[in-house]
Subunit: 202 residues, 2 copies
């Protein structure tokens, strides 16, 4: 006991986040606890509190990492040569697949709320804004008569909508008839919204 510097603080952080991620994927949200994370990294809880302020802090860091990962993937997708509409669809399809593959982690990402009306840290909000910017970029390619503000609003709207479908779908709150897939809703949303956007701004 009391090993000295076997792992740097940064390493400990990485280990903790990796352990937490694994627990979430394997046992779901209910399985996540400080003791389990600590045990999985071969330490005790106390050590965890040398690296994170508390569990909320750990979750926030985990969520930030998820957002980075998500952004990285979506950023790659964006570089295709398809029409803006197709690119947005591909982005959205990746988004929902990501949610389906890591339901607990995804749920934690968006269901997480700061305690007592405290605001999210700026660096966290920035990571979310970056995702919206990817959609905004595609809408910009449509060449509509919209200023920056209007474009931003449209992108936020469209992506929030996509998010809503993912949220309800992954949370099993969408009782879809027959074998309708949530992807159909996503496609419908993107197609109709963009179509409406094109028609209404002429």
């Amino acid at each position: 006991m009391a090993r000295r510097s076997e792992h740097s603080r940064e390493e400990l952080k990485e280990m903790a986040l990796a352990a937490a991620e694994k627990i979430l994927d394997e046992e779901g949200l209910a399985g996540l606890s400080t003791r389990k994370v600590a045990a999985a990294m071969g330490y005790t809880v106390g050590t965890l509190y040398l690296v994170f302020r508390n569990l909320d802090d750990l979750i926030l860091q985990l969520n930030a990492q998820r957002l980075d990962d998500l952004y990285e993937h979506l950023f790659m997708i964006r570089q295709g040569n398809d029409s803006p509409q197709e690119v947005v669809k591909t982005l959205a399809h990746f988004y929902i697949q990501y949610a389906r593959e890591h339901p607990a982690a995804w749920h934690l990402l968006f269901s997480f709320r700061m305690p007592q009306g405290q605001a999210l840290p700026g660096w966290f909000e920035a990571r979310i804004a970056r995702l919206f910017a990817l959609v905004e970029e595609q809408l910009g390619r449509l060449g509509l008569k919209l200023d920056r503000q209007g474009l931003k609003l449209a992108a936020s709207t469209l992506w929030s909508g996509v998010h809503g479908v993912c949220d309800l779908s992954v949370g099993d709150k969408l009782s879809l008839s027959g074998n309708t897939k949530p992807e159909e809703l996503i496609d419908s949303l993107i197609e109709r919204y963009i179509s409406g956007l094109v028609h209404d701004t002429e």
Copy 2:
């Protein structure tokens, strides 16, 4: 102690749900606990377990009550003589206001997940479906060339989208520039989507 039948089982249930609701509104999600609910009704935890299977069951009942309340209000709104688009907007505006007024309860309503991939009870899913049906009814009034299935898909899509805006907005994940209100996103979503729907199904 050991009072006999001072309150019927149904009364106890009502008292528990009312107490839970009050705690949620006043202390947020983190403040909700079986002991607090029991104390607020003047009983001990044990009694709570005579009425509910467990906390998840209590939450589920609470959520069902919320959905009923929500439906009742939205059902009234629906009876206006405005255009379908306007009615849907009014429905959505009420929806987000409801979310804003009871953020914790609303969050609990949609962030609640059954344990271990268990499915939601049928009576719960039915209550959700009822909400979507209200939107479907309005889209039906548009007189589009859409069969029942297509109408259902469109309604699910549109309302999921509205839900997404509410979710991100109430969860503070929408960093809106300036003094943009989430209602603007909702209106944009409804207007554009319906506009696209009208244009694309001709």
